[in-house]
Amino acid sequence: MELLDYAFMQRALLAAVLVGVTAPAVGIHLVQRRQALMGDGIGHVAMTGVGLGFLLGASPVWMATLLSVVGAVLMELIRWYGRTRGDIALAMLFYGGMAGGVMFINLAPGGSNANLTSYLFGSLSTVAPSDVTAICLLAAFVVLVTLGLHRQLFAVGQDEEFARVTGLPVRALNLLTAVTAAVTVTVAMRVVGLLLVSALMVVPVAAAQQLGRSFAATLAISVAIGVGVTLGGTVTSYYQDVPPGATIVLLTIAAFIALTALAAPLARRRARALAAARPDGDPPECAIPATRAADGAAGA
């Protein structure tokens, strides 16, 4: 394990683990709300933050956090108020965010689009010690929110109207989800990159869904997949000299395909076991002739 001798690799691997945990932990709530592409939108807005960081000489990570939180809150407000023209408003927000990033970084002294590339697609060597501090703090926030409020976030995601009638502060929880997603984007920005982060929020969850029957199990499996692919991708990227973000995303998709192929025979076995344990099931609603009933029970 010579790669652990390098300080930059230690930082990259730590950041990778934190991304692997936080991205699916937030992503599962986005997938449950059918807002799977929210992370992608936030990533676009975060580019303005990176550009502003360069321009103002501030930390790009913290500026990106600030801008993506603002962008996420705006997206949530657009969802509330902009029923009919919401998609147009979102499009302007996303592409405005991307254009802003390119503009600011080119205005920065000595800045060019080349500086942006490591933020867009991820890079191992550029995870600075100060970035690690920021990433740890932000990841701690994400874990606290997603673990501490998992029942509330689940209830809102599953049935918003019912959640309101149980007295939950649904708007506040939706805003918190958006802010947490924004924070996760900036956690993942250095390793996976802004344009690829959304894949790590969505694909591990989709892969885990092939196996998990419960929300809790799906969350646990997706975090395991997340950590597996971020660590595997980072190590591969070091040895093969390939970009980490792309490696991680392709590994995630490979995991999804493998689990999907595995899931079909598994589901069949489970169904057979269930049928064996509960041969009669719910009582039939009408009398079925004896011979037919026997056939029906075998087929069901």
Partner: protein, 265 residues
């Protein structure tokens, strides 16, 4: 429409002159409705008559343009004690993009009784009890996506019961529910009513719940056209869209009322 004894007994649900619009279209045109403690009231009416909008206004999911709504004597806007209300939405499909178990779904209904969502022993026990009540305890660990329409509806009712509410508000709980589940649901409700739960239920037809209903309120075009004993609609006449008037055997003096449900007397 008279609502005798409105204030004296402290109604659980009270609507006075409630109006609501959906877009430019007025849906409720002055609804008066009172549900007293322990009563089982059915809201009936044809599609588009405003019955679902009425209950959704009661729980604050439809903005009201005029009139007053009170829950347990508190104006709805100031009402915070949501653990006293169990709501069963009109739903035929499982919600959510991620699979969840029956227990996880029902546990959501218990949140209103917890502090910061922390479950104690009593909360887990309440969730198990709610599952027992609807006869779904043996499916507790199954995914809700794997359930039939009737079983899913039983889960939604268990979710409402998990908070041990004093008032149950249900929006077409029998829609798309097989007969076996209908019987289970009717028995569950009977036990709840016997234990003192108040029920406001939107129905397309009285069906399996008929013996439980104390009073029927019939809406048409956003107005109350009948408030009294449940109509004795039978057979074809219980079907929606049946809109003709003919003499009825047990007419109790009052003239027949035309509704989307057939004859009411």
């Amino acid at each position: 429409m008279d609502n005798p004894g409105t204030a004296a007994e402290g109604p659980v649900v009270a609507l006075r002159g409630v109006r609501a619009d959906l877009g430019p279209r007025p849906v409720l045109r002055g609804i008066d409705l009172t549900v007293r403690r322990g009563e089982v009231v059915a809201l009936l009416g044809a599609n588009g008559s405003g019955k679902s909008t009425t209950v959704r206004a009661v729980i604050g999911q439809v903005p009201v343009t005029a009139g007053e709504i009170e829950l347990f004597g508190t104006p709805r806007r100031a009402f915070r004690d949501w653990a006293r209300v169990g709501y069963v939405p009109q739903r035929t499909t499982a919600a959510g993009g991620v699979t969840a178990t029956v227990t996880e779904t029902v546990a959501s209904g218990r949140l209103s009784r917890t502090r910061f969502g922390l479950f104690r022993k009593a909360d887990h026990a309440a969730v198990r009890r709610a599952l027992d009540l609807v006869g779904m305890a043996d499916r507790a660990k199954d995914s809700v996506h794997a359930l039939s329409g009737g079983q899913h509806q039983r889960v939604l009712i268990a979710r409402a019961l998990a908070a041990e509410p004093e008032l149950l508000i249900m929006d077409e709980p029998m829609a798309g529910v097989d007969l076996a589940s209908q019987r289970v649901l009717a028995r569950t409700l009977e036990e709840q009513v016997a234990a003192g739960t108040t029920v406001l239920v939107v129905l397309h037809e009285l069906g399996a719940l008929e013996p439980l209903i104390d009073r029927a309120v019939v809406l048409r075009d956003g107005r109350v056209v009948h408030d009294g004993p449940p109509p004795k609609a039978v057979g074809q006449h219980a079907q929606p869209g049946h809109d003709h008037v003919h003499p009825h055997d047990d007419a109790a003096g009052a003239g027949p009322i035309r509704t989307g449900l057939g004859l009411l007397s």
